[in-house]
């Protein structure tokens, strides 16, 4: 265990700052201002939902663990007939008005905390928790996965080739996630902003 972690109470997210070795091998930024909702469709209404999404948002709902992003909304596949939607204010209402009752829509804006992670040593850092191959040859921008990191359930997707990974972490697990991240990135230098 790294001594510096013991300074932080385990129930709190590690505060912004620089941690570990010099440098910025990993940069973590908490994303605020995005609303999040979950979509769940009955198997026999998925096609209907797809159609509506195409019509109303101009987006193809991803059929697998992938991201489909439009102007003001994006969808992440998290399971058969299940998506996370992210967007600006009023997301839940927008979705409900256009997609209900083809899908059950629940606000999750407070249930999930978003972190954007980037930096030259990010993949090395994430390898300490993810049991998924995130090599650039395998996991490409737009790919998503729902999995566990250090006993914490997360959904994440790759935004770009920098690489920037966006992680959605259940609210009550955010402190534990931040501890895992900072401890794992410490040897490369970690900036939390």
């Amino acid at each position: 265990m790294f001594d510096f972690l013991t300074r932080f109470p385990p129930a709190l997210v590690i505060p912004p700052g620089r941690y570990g070795a010099a440098g910025a091998g990993v940069i973590a930024t908490r994303i605020e201002g995005l609303e999040i909702a979950s979509l769940a469709a009955a198997p026999d209404r998925i096609e209907e939902l797809r159609g509506r999404c195409r019509a109303d948002f101009g987006l193809d709902l991803p059929a697998g663990p992938r991201r489909a992003a439009g102007e003001d909304v994006e969808f992440i596949g998290v399971g058969p007939g299940r998506w996370l939607a992210l967007g600006g204010e009023g997301l839940e209402e927008r979705l409900r008005s256009r997609l209900s009752p083809a899908a059950a829509i629940c606000d999750q804006s407070d249930g999930l905390i978003l972190f954007d992670l980037t930096g030259p040593r990010l993949r090395d850092t994430l390898a300490k928790g993810l049991a998924i191959d995130i090599d650039p040859s395998v996991f490409r921008p737009g790919d998503a996965a729902t999995t566990a990191v250090a006993l914490i359930g997360v959904t994440f997707w790759l935004l770009d080739e920098k690489p920037t990974f966006r992680f959605a972490v259940p609210r009550s697990y955010a402190p534990a996630f931040s501890r895992f991240l900072v401890a794992s990135a410490a040897e490369f230098g970690c900036v939390v902003s």
Partner: protein, 987 residues
């Protein structure tokens, strides 16, 4: 100093100092602790396990049985560390172990004198009388003498971590075979990981004088490694042992990130545990040299021939001044020749064979080395080897030597290939086991596959590397293997010198002798696994890498069986021992498991809460105030304040499951014992769920928010389990139902507000226009609303405390604001935040069941919910709940209990027995499940499960609590202690 003036792969420009048993010594970068000890002429390094015999260094690798030391000091003290694998660093501290008072003079060495008594299995035959003496006398003495090093009793101060890696081809071992395998698959385009436990890659290429493609072997290795490291599709891990093969191509590996440093670098772990997921793997782990068994073969100065060669060529350290060789194979001859060429004195090459390849004998003669063919070493002498006796046709001769290099042949390092249970196959021509059925996807190459020639190893590496890649669709014609020669490698099976005198060791570390194998044979422990377990052969820290084959060969001979029939013992991970902390990684101390704070955690902290672990959650237990003496006083105050006026608690940890769809009502009817399809919109109902076996699984409330929209709550403990159960019902049992489940536990902060003034307080935070009157929002009503000026909220008029109560849910980020607003609004009412203790007191006062009653062993009837169960529908668990024993009216059922003497304290876990009967199991009729000091009644109260409990109100019983010395007379009463008619709920 035995350091040669030149040569070796050490960095003479970087001298290092270290200490052994308090003596300061010097070495160079590139040394191991063992090579540095040899260079300093230290021969005595440790004491053996059972007989405490003096021992030196036997090998130059991870197979080392003898040279175990305690490394480091204080919290970093690391027992049983093989000096042969420790990379030397400046300031290294090592100490010998298993000796007292000192290494040179060890009192326990007396055991050696007793050795005739202490043969295999001796302890099974004695120490039985008197029976009580075992724990008191014999066992402590045995334990003190046994063991090896001492573990530190302080917390390990270093950090450890885990990591995952993925590849097409994992190559294990970077000797000639591994390097070529990695190169072949990498050149074909596969993603390759090459791992070697050594800090210097190249395997035997660094230890033997050989040429590959016209270069010195070590130079060839360095170039090959450099090429591999430069390729984008290759990762090279040095100091990394692949220790186990698990299912689906998962390989466990341990990277020693900071073990070559006095302390790990700041922010870097000491060790990293890798889970490598590989589609294919090539095991190129080389082979281990076996000793020959003869009297005194364990003396310091007796060393594996290959090890001598390694110390000489790689470390430029000459292990002795006068060295004899004793072997049954060609390889040792080359060691002798290397010694002679390096200017060492070779006393003789003794070979059990009468005929040896002329190339070897001629070269030996040319170098002036004496040759004793058909010879056998029959004994040795000296604390550190001074002389050996050799028997030949001509008689017995004494040779003065301080070094004896022995070789009984080679055992391929096929351990990993056996991790899935595949049995190795015996090959007579090389006198060795080779891998049998290997784990899927694992190929074996080089010496590990029984190919002992250098050219053969290189070629095999290329072939297996290319084959692995080809299997995965990477087609490329492999390059021709590099040029090298296959040296002579003939061997004649030979295990033990029959005519030798003195203890002849098979397993050095566990002090298993040839005599022990004989005893095992005589006593019928002839199966190899019996042999192992009876004699402990192969069970030491080296896992018999040098000894197993010899031991079973001796048994085979005794039993008149072939070695193939005798078979080998089971190979198990780890290949070399792995620190427990490495398997744990980051998950220790406070990070053992995630800590989940509630949405109002910071607020509670400011209120002075004491927190308690509830599963992964951290919840406020109580809120002590200045002047309160103990938790009971605080809790009592919180209860009183709530019952008298108003209190609040964060209830967000309950599982919250959103259910939407046409069939939710029908679905709920099937999973709850009671009916939910008839629940009106805007209402909440309490429900009980059973497991399919008829026992209660969980309870909770479910609200109907709309025609096709319900919201279920589960207990905190069962949230994940219930969600999983509901998914199972929907996906597996009734996929035709239109029900969509979504967990919204994390989304909503939920605060329970309770007490006669709850409505008044709530009014102050609720936005205008929401009617909170009893008519508009009656008991068990639910509605949506906004609070604090537009924050969306859900109101549920439910109560666990038994008071007028509301649970107010807001999006989690507003939880803290809501708590503050309620506190502010309640200031005039002396509002009190309360914790889970007060919650528990109030629920016990109300007779509500919770964890201790919902323990998985109770039925709905036991808990008084018999009438809740609908007779008009089928539901999960109904059929099995009808089994005779579950309907037995004598089953313990829920009742309340009060101490007859009202000042007595009750304790949960006490058993109920009849008054006037002995406190014995025949009279056991149930147990106390939950207790509380009831501030409302001024005495302790309890809930319990008692045979026919509900029919026995008014009777008295004993609540027996022998483990806490308590024995209280109790009166059976209704489980509802406060407001039995529920009037306060409905005001």
């Amino acid at each position: 100093m035995s350091r040669l003036r030149q040569g070796g792969l050490i960095d003479r420009s970087r001298p290092l100092s270290f200490s052994f048993d308090g003596r300061s010594l010097a070495g160079f970068a590139g040394d191991t602790l063992a090579s540095a000890l040899i260079a300093n002429d230290v021969a005595l390094v440790g004491r053996s396990f059972k007989y405490h015999r003096p021992r030196g260094i036997f090998s130059a690798g991870s197979e080392e049985p003898n040279a175990l030391v305690e490394l480091g000091a204080g919290a970093r003290r690391e027992p049983n560390t093989r000096a042969t694998t420790v990379e030397l660093y400046d300031g290294l501290i090592a100490a010998s172990q298993n000796r007292w008072p000192s290494l040179a003079f060890d009192l326990f060495a007396i055991n050696a004198l007793l050795s005739p008594l202490l043969g295999a299995g001796f302890y099974y035959k004695t120490f039985m009388w008197p029976a009580k003496a075992w724990e008191k006398i014999y066992e402590p003495a045995i334990r003190r003498a046994a063991g090896l090093g001492r573990a530190s009793l302080e917390p390990d101060p270093d950090a450890y971590e885990k990591a995952h890696a993925f590849c097409d081809v994992l190559v294990i071992g970077a000797g000639p075979a591994g390097l070529m395998a990695a190169r072949a698959s990498a050149r074909a385009g596969a993603r390759v990981i090459l791992a070697d436990e050594d800090f210097l890659l190249g395997g035997r290429l660094n230890a033997e004088r050989c040429e590959v493609d016209g270069e010195a072997g070590s130079a060839f290795a360095a170039n090959a490694v450099a090429e591999l490291a430069s390729l984008p599709n290759v990762r090279v891990f040095s100091r990394t042992t692949v220790f186990g093969v698990y299912d689906s191509g998962i390989y466990g590996a341990l990277e020693r990130v900071g073990d070559h440093l006095a302390e790990p670098l700041a922010y870097a772990p000491r060790q990293r545990l890798w889970r490598i997921v590989a589609k294919r793997a090539v095991l190129a782990a080389g082979a281990t040299e076996r000793p020959i068994v003869f009297g005194g073969n364990d003396r310091p100065g007796v060393m594996a021939a290959q090890a001598v060669q390694t110390y000489l060529n790689r470390f430029a350290a000459m292990p002795a001044r006068q060295i004899a060789l004793f072997a049954n194979n060609d390889s040792a001859w080359r060691v002798g020749l290397d010694i002679a060429r390096a200017g060492g004195e070779v006393a003789a090459i003794i070979d059990i064979r009468r005929a040896v390849a002329p190339t070897l004998t001629e070269e030996a003669r040319r170098l002036g080395v004496r040759i004793l063919l058909g010879g056998q070493v029959v004994s040795t002498s000296g604390k550190r080897l001074r002389s050996i006796k050799v028997a030949t046709e001509k008689g017995v001769e004494r040779l003065s030597v301080d070094g004896l290099a022995i070789s009984g042949g080679f055992s391929p390092n096929l351990h990993l290939a056996g991790h899935h249970g595949g049995r190795p196959a015996w090959k007579d021509d090389i006198a060795a086991f080779v891998p049998g059925r290997a784990p899927p996807g694992l190929l074996v190459a080089g010496a590990a596959a029984g190919r002992f020639g250098l050219a053969a190893c290189l070629a095999d590496g290329v072939e297996k590397g290319a084959m692995a890649a080809r299997d995965l669709g990477f087609h490329r014609k492999p390059d021709a293997p590099p040029r090298a020669e296959d040296e002579a490698a003939a061997v004649e099976p030979f295990w033990r010198v029959g005519a030798s005198r003195g203890a002849a060791f098979v397993d050095f570390q566990n002090d298993v002798t040839a005599k022990d194998v004989q005893i095992a044979h005589a006593e019928g422990f002839r199966a190899v696994e019996h042999l192992k377990r009876y004699t402990t052969l192969g069970m030491a820290t080296d896992q018999g890498k040098t000894s197993n084959v010899t031991g079973l060969a001796i048994m085979a001979a005794l039993a008149g069986r072939s070695i193939a029939e005798t078979g080998a013992t089971t190979f198990r991970p780890p290949y070399t021992p792995v620190a427990i902390a490495a398997f744990a990684g980051h998950h220790r101390g406070k990070d053992f498991r995630p800590t989940r704070p509630t949405p109002t955690h910071a607020w509670a902290e400011r209120q002075g809460a004491v927190f308690v672990e509830t599963g992964l959650w951290l919840r406020a237990q109580y809120f002590p105030r200045a002047g309160e003496r103990d938790w009971l006083e605080s809790v009592t105050r919180e209860v009183k304040a709530t019952r008298a006026s108003v209190g609040l608690i964060d209830a967000s940890t309950f599982g919250k499951i959103d259910l939407q769809g046409r069939d939710v009502g029908a679905f709920l009817d099937r999973v709850y014992i009671n009916t939910f399809s008839t629940l009106p919109i805007g209402k909440v109902r309490y429900g009980i769920m059973l497991r399919e076996d008829g026992f209660v699984m969980d309870d909770g409330t479910t609200a109907r928010l709309g025609e096709t929209h319900y919201l279920m709550t589960t207990t905190t403990a069962n949230a994940a389990k219930i969600y999983q159960h509901l998914e199972f019902c929907l996906q597996k049992l009734w996929p035709e139902l239109d029900v969509k489940l979504t967990s919204v536990t994390e989304q909503w902060a939920q605060i329970a507000l309770a007490g006669p003034n709850a409505r008044r307080v709530l009014r102050a935070v609720i936005d205008a226009g929401v009617d909170l009157s009893n008519d508009a929002l009656p008991y068990m009503g639910a509605r949506e609303a906004t609070v604090m000026g537009g924050v969306k909220a859900r109101l549920f008029r439910v109560s666990f405390s038994g008071e007028l109560g509301y649970e107010i849910a807001v999006p989690a980020r507003h939880g803290e604001a809501l708590a503050n607003a309620l506190m502010e609004a309640g200031r005039g009412y002396d509002i009190a935040p309360y914790g889970v203790e007060a919650l528990s007191v109030m629920r016990i006062e109300k007779g509500h069941v919770s964890g201790p009653e919902l323990n998985g062993q109770t039925t709905a009837r036991d808990l008084g919910f018999g009438r809740l169960a609908s007779a008009k529908k089928h539901y999960i668990g109904r059929v099995m709940a009808d089994r005779p024993a579950l309907r037995d009216p004598a089953r313990p059922s829920l009742a309340g209990f009060k101490p007859v003497d009202r000042v007595s304290r009750l304790r949960a876990g006490a058993h109920f027995t009849a008054l006037g009967k002995p406190a014995a199991i025949e009279h056991d009729e149930g147990h106390m499940t939950s207790v509380a000091f009831s501030p409302s009644l001024g005495h302790w109260i309890g809930l319990g499960l008692l045979a026919r409990g509900s029919e026995r109100i008014g009777e008295r019983m004993r609540a027996c609590d022998p483990v806490r010395g308590g024995d209280v007379e109790v009166e059976i009463c209704s489980p509802v202690f406060v407001d039995p008619d529920g009037e306060r709920l409905r005001v």
